[in-house]
Symmetry: D2
Subunit: 329 residues, 4 copies
Amino acid sequence: MLRFAQFGAGRIGAIHAANLAATKDTQLLHIVDVNADAARVLAARHGAKVSTVSEVLADPQVDAVIIASSTDTHADLVIAAAKAGKAIFCEKPIDLSLKRVDACLAAVKKAKVPMLVGFNRRFDPSFAALQARVAKGEIGNVEQVIITSRDPGLPPISYIKVSGGQFRDMTIHDFDMARWLLGEEPVELFAYGSCLVDPAVAKAGDTDSAMIVMKTASGRLAHINNSRRAAYGYDQRLEVHGAKGRLIAGNRTATTVELADGNAVSADKPLYFFLERYAEAYRAELAAFVSAVQNRQPMPVGPADGRQAIVLAEAAVKSLRTGRPVKVG
Amino acid sequence: MLRFAQFGAGRIGAIHAANLAATKDTQLLHIVDVNADAARVLAARHGAKVSTVSEVLADPQVDAVIIASSTDTHADLVIAAAKAGKAIFCEKPIDLSLKRVDACLAAVKKAKVPMLVGFNRRFDPSFAALQARVAKGEIGNVEQVIITSRDPGLPPISYIKVSGGQFRDMTIHDFDMARWLLGEEPVELFAYGSCLVDPAVAKAGDTDSAMIVMKTASGRLAHINNSRRAAYGYDQRLEVHGAKGRLIAGNRTATTVELADGNAVSADKPLYFFLERYAEAYRAELAAFVSAVQNRQPMPVGPADGRQAIVLAEAAVKSLRTGRPVKVG
Amino acid sequence: MLRFAQFGAGRIGAIHAANLAATKDTQLLHIVDVNADAARVLAARHGAKVSTVSEVLADPQVDAVIIASSTDTHADLVIAAAKAGKAIFCEKPIDLSLKRVDACLAAVKKAKVPMLVGFNRRFDPSFAALQARVAKGEIGNVEQVIITSRDPGLPPISYIKVSGGQFRDMTIHDFDMARWLLGEEPVELFAYGSCLVDPAVAKAGDTDSAMIVMKTASGRLAHINNSRRAAYGYDQRLEVHGAKGRLIAGNRTATTVELADGNAVSADKPLYFFLERYAEAYRAELAAFVSAVQNRQPMPVGPADGRQAIVLAEAAVKSLRTGRPVKVG
Amino acid sequence: MLRFAQFGAGRIGAIHAANLAATKDTQLLHIVDVNADAARVLAARHGAKVSTVSEVLADPQVDAVIIASSTDTHADLVIAAAKAGKAIFCEKPIDLSLKRVDACLAAVKKAKVPMLVGFNRRFDPSFAALQARVAKGEIGNVEQVIITSRDPGLPPISYIKVSGGQFRDMTIHDFDMARWLLGEEPVELFAYGSCLVDPAVAKAGDTDSAMIVMKTASGRLAHINNSRRAAYGYDQRLEVHGAKGRLIAGNRTATTVELADGNAVSADKPLYFFLERYAEAYRAELAAFVSAVQNRQPMPVGPADGRQAIVLAEAAVKSLRTGRPVKVG
């Protein structure tokens, strides 16, 4: 039996709590949230207590914590949880500042607690199958990676303002995908960013459209394209080219229904957004965390992965600001 | 709170019990199975008691029963459960004999209990979406229905022998699909059956390959093709042609990964069999039952539907035996 | 150099003449048509003479004839051309009456002239590739064949009246496909026909919607579905199931463009009708004829194939009339 | 009647000559090639004379020339043909040096002769349909363009050495596609190039793998990925994202046949290389040239387009050499 406390009772918190409820040999003891109502509702739904951070950390029954609160709280919670000896499941990003990320990594290392960083896409059945087939050598040496990652619609400008910017908030997932698929660390990148969706984004100092290219030491290349708007839903595709062929992972749809009429042959749009597209991924991610803790095995995606994605995001920010390619690492 | 007892702790029973466990406002009180071990394991997993039929029927706490035991026990359990005033969720078929089916219908009618017959395919997201779009008139008046329904592999001959034959055991689902999609009752059918997969099937007096055509009063046409073997997995497709176009619902795959190499561009096979393909359908089916009972609404697929599928299966058996088309009542 | 005369300067005649013009080592000498204007235009376009039937048959320079005139003239022309020792390319059907077909076959046999019957679909790149892969054993023994064949729209009722009926006019192609793919001759069939598209068709004594099932001696099964209307264009698909898998040949589209928008992901409709879909097939068919004549090799589809398709069409007509399955001799 | 002379009797010359032979109201009078045998064979096939450059230019019967000889001869021939008042169909690139390209443009302008530059992809049915739909506003304002362009295999190193390098030889087509689809001129680009396919390419001073990003004045973004090797054939895809949706044009296949077996569901690889994939495009391109000359209409792709693609290629070369983004224009 693995006993949990969860920080955060918002949208993503609700998902993790529900997945935990469906996971054998686990129990959710505490919910913590600054929004007392949200905490109460979620706690009631899953038979947990509403608690404070210090109550959670002081509770010797708590084996593991899920950090699903707002980004600015992640680092403090990681450090505190590590000191308290709890296993840590932390939503991405660890923090928007690399310095604070490093403080987290140090705390986790010192406490020797296991930590998973919530790069949920690694657990998407299609993406995971693609990566496993790349790793197995099905397409030979990887040469190029192309990542399409486009959100269905712009978040509120208020969110944009505190998001850390498109590269740290959105592209961070794609940086993780690129590292995971390239089989080598990117050593340089170049980024273009534009504001094409809504001028309010530019006013807020951010971009809503981006294209990035990256290079590894041996010359492998990766491309990411991002947009905060895709009229047809959440566009999440991977494409890997190797010496022996190409692997593509496409979007998922709600149904396989196809209509042929006087206009066209038409099929479903992609699933709407991350809650729909990555529902299975969130379940598999939590299961992987639980299994790794229980079996004292390495985390499939750890703090160093969380750090490196931030490093790439910072490089992209610098590239955008300077208009120059930026060395990484 | 809707309280359940379940008859049957086998493969399909395990599915229903697990889905029930994930359904709010329900509780599983009893598990009944002639296999005591199976009953014990499933009951333990879901916090239910191992009980007998009479204990279940005598328990006033039990609101509803799930009948997922072997086919030959369905009719007696339906009748007994109806007399005991329980809502009934009955796996297909109600019975292999039309006479006994009619006895069940009479008992259910008399007792005025709600009853759902387990035609799970009606709850498959793709099939349900297709039917809803047909019903909405997206392709105009229905003209032709084509149903492909092929199992991945032959069941044991011991199963074949007690199955009631391919039409009653396998095609029965397709007869239900045809009725559901045609928008009119078939009034005549003609059936071919062959033994192409394994001569042992013919020895057991059954067929493993079949093609059926059906006609409604207004001349709408339907075709079903069946095989007990499909090397590539479970092939379950619907195609409906109407005055304004065509709707197709295809197979589902585990992933969207596609490999292009020196040989071909290749994608996943269809999901392996009904447990995989219809996992969502089983969940939705149980949810529909619970909701209909709780809200005292009509069942989406009721005893008359269960009967009519048997009527068509019997007609197909007769057509095969006589080599003639057979009128349907 | 192979020198041709062509009977028929209509739509299909224009196609054959153009294909001939693009075929090396061939020359078109004569065009014959009751419509003098059509003959003149086509002859002028290709540098041929407008001639009469007797002029063509008496011209020792003519090696081969293309019979692309109206169906009722086919048999007489075949017999006359055979007597005159010309190689014969005859559009389907040879004739609507089996007796006259047999007279043609006798004349061709006696004269020992090569004859190809215009079952163009055998030369469609996708259908030909599918059949070759079936023949190569890629899916093991054939078990079931499913043929979808639906025209984009109803021809004029005046055409329906002289067409010989849907089975002889339209399904005849599908009967040929079924024979070609089953690897065994059908020994029995059963046919349903309805009038769902336009009541005028029923008034003309014909059907516009049909479903047929067929059986071979070893129990292989085939299904054909036909409609005179498909709102989305010409629907021409083959599906063959064997012991080791399934081969499908789908429709062709003008482009590979796909639109994703707020409604759906939509692609091109199938190519509109036979002129578009089978353009390549018509070229390949003529090339195969020329090559077989020049190299004195057997015709890929000969008079016996033309006859057997008529036999099946007649059986279907009889099945529809009697409401019974019909043995095929 | 439009009378042609053609420079070049190689692979691409054979295609243009054959397409010309199938084009109404045209005649091929002369073939010129340094390879006398090749010239003789092609001239014989199409009833043309083998001639010299000066004979062609001095022949008043010649209305138009097709320049399909080696790249280093293009510029001189363009200038000479312009002076001689001939309409010019010139294979891409006009020249590898921008200076010489400008000399050509000046000559053409002065002579007021029509000139088409052979960017065949603009005439591919799928790409042309996609561009037309973008232009019609089907996806609103263009925001991002993604171009995949990968050859099936490495050309001989001897060819690489005289090709002008990957950007001028291969990417030049993609630069044209990007300009055509973006709806605005790129004002800056950044290029990565690697040698991943064969170290001999690096020895020859070239790259075999490349990724480029481009930006327009209003911030629209484009990405190109290139490889000299794709194990599965010629990979040629376009993807355009706009405010209202996404348009994709995919690869073409020889057939629509799909096999489902115990391993996968597999379809045809893309057509092998440009001769197969762009066969229709070459026909349409020549037809467009002939039609524009005959009707005195503007060329769909003119000398300025040929120049601008070279400008972008030179910018990419400079970016690769300096490791910096490069302003264009």
